[in-house]
Symmetry: D4
Subunit: 221 residues, 8 copies
């Protein structure tokens, strides 16, 4: 822990407590970081955790919770009190393979206090599935659109709703998808207005921004 | 003309007479090629011609016709007899800026004897425009889908119709569209089935393939 | 005008009237589109217009206004009544060369009813300029961060404020900036949270999204 | 199965039943999907399956069939009645390493009712092998040309036949082949007419389109 | 001329006198370089010259010769004695648009003393044109294969002949040809043996290497 | 050892003894090289070593030292005499994941006789951490700035200090970071002066250059 | 001038006064910036100026000096007193076409008080030219190596000298040089130590860093 | 073996017998191909073989020989008669890590009857090693230059010798070397004449071409 320089001031500055990006963190570092953050915040939220890291954290925090789909590894607060979720964020995916990234976004938003509505596997190759949910999606304060392959979902949603769309390209696909670059370019070049983009597979970032917007909408920012 | 090696056998082999790609052809070469092809076929069809090239060809062939939108420069047959158009090809564009490429496709298909139905400016950012035309589009034997920017049009059409979709990415857009590469990648990675792709702005190629398919459908190949 | 398929329903669906992207539109098309939109909406807003296009539109609408910096070409409403601007959007640039894109964003936001505060030429190579304005920037409901070259501005702002940051990479720079791709990648890979990205030089898109967010914050969406 | 949103209407819309892309599907999802599709269609066809997935499906469907070369995993109809294959599709490869992709195309086409003729290992470095088969290839209604490395096969075939050529770049090769991008670019830039392209290694997509064309030719679409 | 550091030793080291790459050379520099080289070698050979540069050099050397197609600008030796050309190099092009690059190669080889046989416009989309010339091409000691678009010519020739093939990709094409990169990749990934590649449009380089090989074959190196 | 051609003259020419790049070296080669260098120099310094290579070298040199973080594998001099470190180099990282590369730089500089001051985990998303250390960093003769993801650290430091900044992009990140290319482009396009760049993850190179500069500053070069 | 936010504190922070990047600056902005800087510093130094901008500045400052090769546009101090140049920087180019970039570097270094020694047109295709100057180059405190095309110069120099090498890739070349990217990659991947890299054609940046190092060496930083 | 279409006519056409590219060949295919080729040619030569494939072939041919460095797997002729090697090919590498590719080239050339002289680990960072061997290298009829990282070796050799240089980029390096693309670009953009390039790591191809040239030089083609 000599090296890590935890940013405990972050919550004051930005309204969001520090979160752990678990991937590639050395074992002893990870445990130390979880302990320090728990001591400071009374709870910890980590993304991109592995099974092995869950085992590791569970030794220190027996009540730790790990979700295999989203790979989120949490230590809940001691009193286990549920946070009151507010507002409404729609999380939409093109296919089933995009769900892990979508769940990272959805659970991040929930962790930060936002209510989430999920619309999964409604991609544009069977567009009736999207059209049927159009009104429900538009009720949200913000839409997170998650898609790989050609990523056309974001453009179609952008043309249907009046709320900001946070587009998340995923690495789902093969061949000339270039690990998600194809979907990223599609979303950056969207002919629809109201679409902004985060990094490939960056569900966490999308859930964070969606929460910023949701908080503004409900007046809790 | 010493250098050009015109492929007069092409019609026998492939069923399509040779066509002139006018862009960057030197003046004296272009006129010679038009003359040789007219002598052999009794008509000439050229793509990507400029105003200047039209002037040039009109000196040799006063009845030459130039369409500024598609940039197609034709010398019609002497008897001016209309070809009987058969079958049905749908040519669809996302925006108005894609129309020059679409017209190159449509007029190529017509030159080779196909009937064409046009659906322009029905891009996915206002998807009702496409949904309204869905049944008419599906009546065609083949769909040519022309789109720039993020190129999502091809995927949505691919999910709606039962006929082959020839996708044409266009260079319309700016920034990270990379002169059409973004739309090309979108179309190559399409989540919908039945979509194959030609080069950026290659309206001629799409019109040619659509005609091959249309001929098979009407039994005139 | 046979080809253009104006989306008059857009305002109902998305809360934003249709806007004209002037670049590369043919003269007669442009005038027709301005006329049709004026007839429908009582005002017109166009981006990326040229001097020549201003002359053209001024013939039809003598009260047309053209801003050379942002290249925005407007026909104001007949009564010239000022819209009441609400909320607060911060538009920030790294250098002076980024100002044209920033103005496209700012004036778009103003056109759609948002109040805008400008912070120009406060790039990270002299970071005191940014630090001095930190509190004022954080008062906004949304920050538009405009930067070319290496585009580091967005990350620094993202770490300082609690509101969503819409990052706009610009094509300002030379050599390995690849027409703005370098800044785009910087912003997409931002280590700071709360940053989402639009296309290179897409000031309009950023102003649009910032307005969506600003409307949610003031409760007028 | 809560998440998957199977598109049972697809056959009505497009004439083709839903197919399973097995790669990276979680075990329990895969089995559920096979069961749902079997219940609806009386047979199932999956691509890119692994040995492990074959074992899994065989537990539920003891009559499941797995082809190691094409990686296609089928559950045949209960009555095992052979479908009557119609028309003619030529599937051609440059080398032996391209055969897995070619077989995915060929068996897909057969599954959807097309007769297929195979021409394997006839690449352009020994062009007599292709010239000898030229007339047989041209008898087909559509040609699927499968090639990796420099992918020149498609251009040569395009110049020899009168039928549409669906070009499939493969990831076969090394060094500057960039996992198939080199072959993809070759095919997209083909100097021959009549060539359209699908994604790298997308044998399934090529077999699907070839069937669409074959059906049009035999009048069964 | 203070800056240029002419390499008069080059002929001793490599067997080839220094040659001038005219493109983007300042006027006064170019004239000086031609004068210095003429004084040393009694003749000068320059590539990529413009009309303007021809005028400039003609003032100093009234017997200067400029070939508009290859853009080669020579000052012949005073006695105008013809060099005896030896051996045999085949220069082959796919299309007529590749001829300027091919002529740069051919005239370079001739300048350095090689006999050249030209085979132009024999691209693979009409492969009979190449097959008819196969025996003549194979008589050469080295083949220069010049092609743009998808550049498949080099692979087909590589499979037909026993001599080294120097492949020259050209920038001919459009869209995803990326200014010749597509043809370059095709040639670098060639499935045929005996093919090595030079830079895009580098006719001079190919003519130089072909001469090195031709000299070895005739024993004059 | 027949193949390796050790450059024992390097120290005379450049002032730096030869160092071993261990990665991908075959076992027997590695041991031989360590032995030869030890015989010549009395100590050995290797980078990018693995645990396995440590075991291997320890058999031959029981006093070998391996640092798991930097992956540096040294054989210290027999007398174990400490080198007197001179001058001052600041090594700065954006995050904790950049520390392995930073340690390679720092330990390289120390091996070559430079004093090093470390500033770790002070990235721009919490810029107060950097501002607090600004004066200490500026006391160094040279700054090594190590950052992955968007790599904005180098630009901010470049604007704050008067000494040369050697920027080291790291492969830390995911998605569109392209293994460090994003950070590399950020640094190459830096709007701040005084920043030059080495290869991705090239801590060794940065430590070497920083030492060259530090030696010039203390007058020991 | 409302927008520009001149950084007059820069000299205090970094030891270097602000400099003007003239390219693409609007006329009225440029004149204003020159006036403001002159009022503050008593002299002005601008890079990448055009003939037109020279005319403009000369109206305001009749003693302005413009160097067509380097495109540097200076307003010298009123007393015209020569600065005493100290230390030694070697500026080396591969070809004559690289000289404009080299002069930008050299004159920048001279403006900031460094003595410069020039070695032009000593590229690696005639390596004796470099070897002859090896000892003189090594006398400098820092080497600026300027090269386009394949950019091999930096690696060879890096292996010959003991001082830091600042490598400047130039956009000189054609075809697959990608506007200087080829040379940039060569230099970033250099097998020689002591080489760091700046942006393509960034002579100014190299002259700046070389001065930082030269100042450290002579003890005037 | 039903699928493979061995090109037994190749030797007649090109003067070189068919060779096996072992990588990724299925076990049963590989054995069959070795058997068929042995039956036809009395010997077999395969590249890119693995240990496992050696075991496999040794079962069928107990006298099979495998070289771990070059990964070449041969079945020698029954009489084991040595071929008389003729001419002279120089194979040169920049580093020791390039030796496997160099050996593939060298042993290929030897298999096809050429005498080979090896010059290993003579890269440009210690250029005296190359200069010392300059005359010996120039005695060869053809030079194969093998280098990774920045690949500058080919340019330096090209400027020193009068014979054709076949440049082989290798994937040796890290970071921005992009698996050999950096070296490939360096070689394609070489400022030296007489350099042509093959695919990354394609030692076989280089050995083949070098043999073609060597045969021409000694008059055995």
């Amino acid at each position: 822990m000599d090296f890590a320089n935890l940013d405990f001031d972050r919550k004051n500055r930005t309204g969001f407590a520090e979160v752990v990006f678990c991937e590639r963190k050395a074992d002893e570092f990870l445990v130390d970081i979880y302990k320090k953050l728990y001591a400071n915040d009374g709870r910890v939220f980590g993304t991109r955790a592995s099974d092995h890291q869950f085992e590791l954290i569970r030794e220190a925090f027996p009540n730790a919770i790990y979700d295999k789909v989203s790979r989120i590894l949490q230590v809940p607060p001691a009193d286990n009190k549920e946070i009151q979720l507010v507002g409404n964020i729609a999380v939409v995916t093109a296919g089933t393979a995009d769900i892990p990234v979508a769940e990272e976004a959805a659970q991040t938003a929930e962790y930060f206090g936002s209510k989430v509505t999920r619309f999964y596997d409604v991609g544009v190759s069977g567009i009736h599935r999207l059209m049927e949910n159009r009104d429900s999606i538009n009720e949200a304060n913000c839409v997170v659109a998650v898609a790989g392959m050609e990523g056309a979902l974001a453009s179609v949603i952008g043309g249907l709703v009046s709320k900001p769309v946070i587009a998340v390209p995923t690495s789902v696909g093969y061949g000339a998808n270039f690990g998600g670059v194809s979907a990223l370019l599609t979303m950056i070049n969207s002919c629809a207005n109201g679409v902004s983009v985060v990094n490939i597979d960056n569900g966490y970032g999308a859930g964070y921004i969606a929460t910023q917007i949701n908080r503004l909408a409900v007046g809790t920012e």
